[in-house]
Amino acid sequence: MSIIRRSLTSLLIALACLMSVPAMAQEDPGRELLVNLAEAPSSRVEEAINAIVDSGDERARGWLEAYGNNRLSRVKDTGQVVLVLNNRGRDWEIADPLTGENLGEMSRRKLDRVAINNAIRGKLEGIMAMLDLNAADPDVREASAADMMGKVDAALVAPLQARLEKEESAAVRDRIEAALAIYRVEQGDIEAVEVLAGSLHPRARAALNNAAASDSPQLVEAANKALASIEQKLKLNKAAETLYFGLSMGSVLVLAAIGLAITFGVMGVINMAHGELIMLGAYTTWGVQQLLPGQPGLALLLSIPAGFLVAAIAGIIIERSVIQHLKGRPLETLLATFGISLILQQLVRTVISPQNRTVVTPEWMSGSLVINDALSLTLNRLYVMAFALIVFAALMMIMRKTRLGLDVRAVTQNRAMARSMGIKATKVDILTFALGSGVAGLAGVALSQLTNVGPNLGQNYIIDSFMVVVFGGVGNLWGTLIAGLSLGTINQLLEPWAGAVLAKIIVLVFIILFIQKRPKGLFPQKGRAAEN
């Protein structure tokens, strides 16, 4: 198989070489530019890049982008510069950067990467942003003008000025002016400080901070004044950001705990394998993504029902095989389900892999929603927050408005009475446990976008889940929601000054003290249900 593939590869390469012969006849100026770039010692790379930009070649942007992404390589034998299309695995797919024609696969051993490092990449980003400033789309222009912040050097000032005069969009003009002002402040220009006064951009603040530490007293005074006005705005943004962090961590806690609120809270089953049900949901996401390569978004949407089903079925199996035989024996249930959790973990390790699996984040979930330069809300967490609320609302509906919800409430309040009224308690048990487990699976689907998908995923959430359910009041879904959100917020408020380790400890101590005072949690069940 591999011999066939290899000979096919070499055939393709040979063909490609043959085809490129006529192209070589009329010497392409791009060839020399690229070879110069590939051969330049690190001190001359900038020159080579500028030569490419100055050539005005329309392929230049593509070349520079490929270079910045480590996608330019040289064939060791021939010295030809090639574009690497796919750099995974043993053989890499390459193309001719001059003609764009695909050259087939070549062993990575035969290719020599054209070197780049962060310093050059930083310069390259500035140059590319400059190229993009001429784009037709004002959004692209604004983004690239924002990229220019702090990357302006003496060579870029004149072209930026020229661009500023031509620019029509006000937003882009502001950005360019700020980028130029940063450069001027760095050069000691006091007037430019004014321009930066309201800016929340970290680069602007960095430039002002440097100015405030300079020798010129006037400059220091102006910079300090500008910084003070920024500081005020920044505080507000910081507070909003912390609140967002808290709510987002809280919604993760709610998602992880809400399934447990049903199995533990409503049914009273201490299910230590709850974390592993979450893990199964996360692995389902990975599995569906494997089945639908190249469509991570669709796969993620499909994993929502799939994750629910997989975890629910696993839940049914656990309930039928173990938990139903241990009814009313919480200690044994705890130990047995703990054993199940270990079995499930090791099963995943043995069958799939002990390594973490890569779950791809779809394009529309990565990056952040930019409110202003200091405050941006990360999209993946925003989606998870929305998802948590939807799941919560759906569960509330099921418990309040459906026949199943009514049966569940009846069986948990008074099992014997419910049975004598003709409710099949065993069936209700199975369905409730399946529902709780399925919701855990949903949590797994969401968590696969935030954390690693690996055999240990569940372990990290089991303690937190129990904490939230106990704190919120056993058997109360609202309690779980409030408890999750408030614990998340408290944690994030504490973290900046106490550190992550101490914040966790403080929260734990707080819960212990709270439970001492109110053993039934935040929202204890009232009335007859509480008597059980």
Partner: protein
């Protein structure tokens, strides 16, 4: 009659001795492998078990050593630190292995240490660690802090011009010791207190929003800022994800990691991480024939085109070959003779140079700085001009500054104090004090 009888007895005695001799010659050399195959550390350690098994297979194809086959004895300490000690005892006392390759975490090594010293075994430890230890029975083929952390900081300071530092780590002994060393080192080089931010997080930390946001504002003070990360294992994925989402690119605030290798990156979408750094003594992308051959052998052994190699695997490759050379040199697998023979042994590493076993049981290694690429590989952007010898006792910690280790006779001491001129406490006690 009697003559015949004598001959008979003599012959059978001869036969017996011959058969005994051949039995001795065929007796395999037993190689113990002490890596977790289950539990939390299985993610990192399973590949190391496979690596040693592959090396054993390769060596057997070459005819073994001293005419003897090699045989792997695999046990599973299940990421359970006390179990490491029990399994080590089982390997040495019951299985009577000649050498052990194993351990990943420092705490598991500390748990095995007294057993290996008591039963006089040999242990090859392949992972970068915090130093402050040198045992007669342990060979440290991973990097000591001066072979990873210090050169990486030098690179950031001199080549990138970093003036403000975030030392972020997981809360356990390796990051704490390394950061203590780095803090002293940075202050010695004129970095002010307010330009250093130290942050610890629990194992498996997954909510990095606040910390990343803190790093962002710490980095906007006007000086070039970098993060030196000793964040371990699983926690790295959400950390890097958060960095990407909050828009911190490598050209703004580079992160240099000491625990993130090809293996860890294979679990992440590396697109947003391009340009962040790692410091190791080996990268899979190193362009040498020895390395490509090793990778090809590894791919064939695993039967999977997409498997990766990493630094601890190279450490085992070096350690294994050093052991083989030492056994050849000593002409026996006797522990004491191998211990003597191995000091000074040089074997090729995978990055185009040689690794030599130093008298302090650490080895010489080149230090490479790599930038993350979008295919989960690193591209080398800087390396030390020559190899660096591992320093068991850091020069940047008050307790260990005057300490050296030399396991050659007549000194034969892991904790020799150059000021008092005497051999100090046993290495175990010293290590306990230094923590």
């Amino acid at each position: 009659m009697s003559i015949k009888k004598h001959v008979k007895v003599g012959l059978s005695a001869l036969a017996l001795s011959v058969s005994m001799h051949s039995a001795a010659a065929e007796d395999p050399i037993k190689i113990g492998i002490l890596h977790s195959l289950s539990g939390t550390m299985a993610i990192s350690e399973t590949v190391l078990k496979d690596t040693v098994e592959m090396l054993i297979e390769q060596q057997n194809e070459k005819g073994g050593v001293l005419g003897r086959e090699l045989e792997a004895v695999v046990v599973d300490p299940a990421s359970d630190w006390p179990l490491f000690a029990e399994k080590a005892r089982e390997l040495l006392a019951q299985e009577e292995v000649d050498v052990i390759f194993g351990n990943w975490t420092s705490v598991s090594r500390k748990s095995v240490l007294p057993v290996v010293e008591e039963l006089n075994g040999l242990l090859f430890y392949p992972v970068q660690y915090e130093g402050e230890e040198s045992s007669e029975n342990v060979f440290y083929t991973g990097a000591a802090p001066n072979q990873q952390a210090i050169p990486a900081v030098n690179y950031l300071m001199n080549e990138i011009g970093v003036e403000r530092w975030v030392l972020a780590g997981t809360d356990y002994v390796y990051p704490r010791t390394t950061n203590k060393i780095l803090e002293t080192y940075l202050k010695d080089h004129g970095v002010a207190d307010e330009d250093i931010m130290v942050n610890y997080t629990p194992f498996g930390h997954s909510d990095w929003q606040n910390i990343v946001s803190d790093i962002k504002s710490f980095g906007s003070a006007g000086k070039k800022t970098a993060v030196v990360s000793t964040i371990n294992g699983d926690a790295n994925v959400p950390f890097y994800r958060e960095l990407g989402n909050q828009g911190i690119s490598a050209s703004d605030i580079p992160v240099v990691a000491f625990s993130v290798g090809e293996q860890e990156l294979s679990g992440i979408d590396t697109g947003p991480l391009v340009g962040h750094l790692a410091a190791w003594n080996y990268f899979m992308s190193v362009d040498t024939d020895a390395n490509w051959d090793f990778i090809d052998a590894w791919i064939d052994y695993k039967g999977d085109d997409t498997v990766v190699t990493n630094d601890p695997m190279e450490a085992h490759y070096i350690g294994f070959n050093m052991y083989i050379e030492a056994v050849k040199k000593a002409g026996t697998t006797d522990v004491d003779e191998v211990k003597d023979a191995i000091i000074g042994v040089s074997v090729p590493n995978l990055t185009g140079g040689y690794a030599t076993m130093m008298p302090n049981h650490h080895i010489t290694k080149p230090v490479l700085i790599g930038e993350i690429q979008d295919n989960g590989q690193f591209s080398v952007v800087w390396e030390t001009p020559s190899t660096v010898a591992g320093d068991a006792w850091s020069d940047f910690l008050p307790g260990s500054r005057d300490m050296i280790a030399d396991w050659r006779k007549p000194m034969f001491c892991g904790t020799f104090n150059t000021v008092t001129g005497s051999c100090g406490a046993s290495s175990g006690e010293m290590a306990a004090e230094s923590e």
